[in-house]
Assembly symmetry: C2
Homo-oligomer: 306 residues x 2
């Protein structure tokens, strides 16, 4: 079980080497991550985009051009469709965004012919390694679905459980979060959290233990759970997965942690046939590399189940 | 301007000594804070409750019994009404919760005859000192109002601006937060944030600069604002006040910071005629003392305006 990103790198190195297809790869920050992924034995890459520009940036980063397959497609939409098709056709294991806007990138992900759509909604999982917490934490959705319905939250849990399992967490503990740990009919979020718990108890959500509503302190910290008399909860200080009420709560917590805590993180899109990495321009190289490593273990799990 | 809780203590020490009325004071954690407040010259206290028990606990904490006025009222409801009346009558400056449930305590706060009601809704401000941020941050509402309406959010801003001003922030910068920094009609929170901004521009909310919606990183960090091309915003990396979409977002961020960041905080109830301290049992002594100091500067400001 990977309890840190270091563990995750070990886990990746024990797998067969994965291949990453990058859409519109002529981007310095993305190529830095691609280079680091190669050097750390996480993944090889196929770089789709403007070959001249890619070679120029690669040279400036002292990347060995022979280490990478480069496919010259100058048009941005076409480059993204070419790259995603590599994953669709099984020639690459995971798909990553380069120098193109998110809308065009997602269009390629959802393309009916060469894309990675499953028919289920897209969502997003953020994985954190936080000092004082002895395991990886999986947060969703902090970036993608604005106001998930109950049905969406069921998907969010299923997606995130899959990612956590790929990281070796056998039976993830899931905390649908709220401001309070008791159901209050005046707070719809708490009612939904209780409903997700019931769905888990009755076998509609499987492979995990769901217990909500939970406040963040009870979900994550044993002492807080003890102090508040909540040690009898199924999830009490040992949550692996945090499910947020909506994107505002999720994103504000995500940004608080990223900016205020000395942490590491990685991100992955969910609801797709193969792992998709949609990092933001503000993510540092470490975060991008962590995201590639995360995608690699998810790809390994998918290959196993094929 | 107080940029830290240390500054705030200096500010308090420069004021006339304030008096704190404690309801049902026979509580060790509360008396520890009362003792520390006395020793640090923040406030004297009038302890209302079971006098024998108060004296017993005080002795165990080596408190000098002559330092405190003790009023013997054994019945809990009566004790809270006696204590709040001291503030109502101007015999004390601020009111603090002891060993009683929040519901009974709030009943005394809202009592029509001897309470501190203003007719406006109650809310709550949490003040944080966070490493890497060169000023105090004022968060609201993270604990009290579940789903504030637009009108409630106007009150929340007015209350919080008052607290920030009492701490010496002349014209606080206010960020109504969301997951994104642009208005999106599909996200009501962003529409409300823009509406609060308009109300400020048109003079319906005064004494501060409001600019929303803002993401947390743009609100708090100059580099993030720069990276995202948001330096032209009225609030860009220099927010003093963070207004949350709802209690879930606020509380989850609050608990993330309290548990994951090496920070200090203090809290105060708002919407009352005089400062009310409603600390939680899980707050440590430092937090309680910070809250008393915060209440003292707010009381000073109220006295000035009388």
């Amino acid at each position: 079980m990977s309890k840190s990103f270091d563990d995750l790198l070990w886990q990746v190195n024990a797998c067969e080497k994965k291949k990453l297809a990058v859409a519109v790869a002529q981007d310095k920050a993305v190529l830095e991550a691609v280079k680091a992924a190669k050097e750390r034995n996480i993944a090889d890459s196929i770089l789709v985009g403007d070959a001249d520009k890619i070679r120029e940036i690669a040279a400036s980063l002292s990347m060995n051009p022979d280490d990478y397959e480069i496919i010259d497609v100058k048009d941005i939409t076409e480059a993204s469709l070419t790259a995603v098709k590599l994953v669709h056709d099984g020639k690459a294991d995971m798909y990553m965004k380069g120098l193109l806007d998110t809308k065009t990138f997602l269009k390629s992900v959802l393309d009916k012919e060469v894309g990675l759509r499953t028919g289920k909604p897209l969502s997003h999982v953020c994985v954190f390694e936080i000092p004082g917490i002895d395991r990886l934490l999986f947060l969703s959705d902090v970036a993608f679905m604005p106001y998930p319905t109950l049905e969406d939250k069921k998907c969010i849990i299923e997606y995130t459980v899959e990612i956590a399992k790929a990281c070796g967490v056998e039976c993830p503990k899931v905390a649908p979060l709220a401001a309070v740990e008791v159901v209050n009919p005046k707070m719809p979020v708490t009612v939904e959290a209780a409903e997700l718990t019931r769905m888990n108890e009755e076998g509609e959500i499987t492979g995990c233990i769901v217990d909500g509503p939970l406040s963040l302190d009870i979900a994550l910290y044993k002492e807080a759970a003890e102090e508040k008399g909540a040690l009898n909860r199924k999830v009490a200080g040992d949550a692996d997965i945090l499910v947020f009420p909506d994107i505002h709560a999720g994103n504000l917590v995500y940004k608080s942690i990223v900016h205020m805590v000395n942490c590491q993180n990685g991100n992955i899109l969910t609801g797709t046939k193969a792992p998709v990495i949609l990092t933001s321009r503000s993510d540092d190289c470490e975060t991008k590399v962590n995201s590639i490593a995360l995608a690699a273990v998810v790809a390994e799990e998918l290959n196993k189940n094929k």
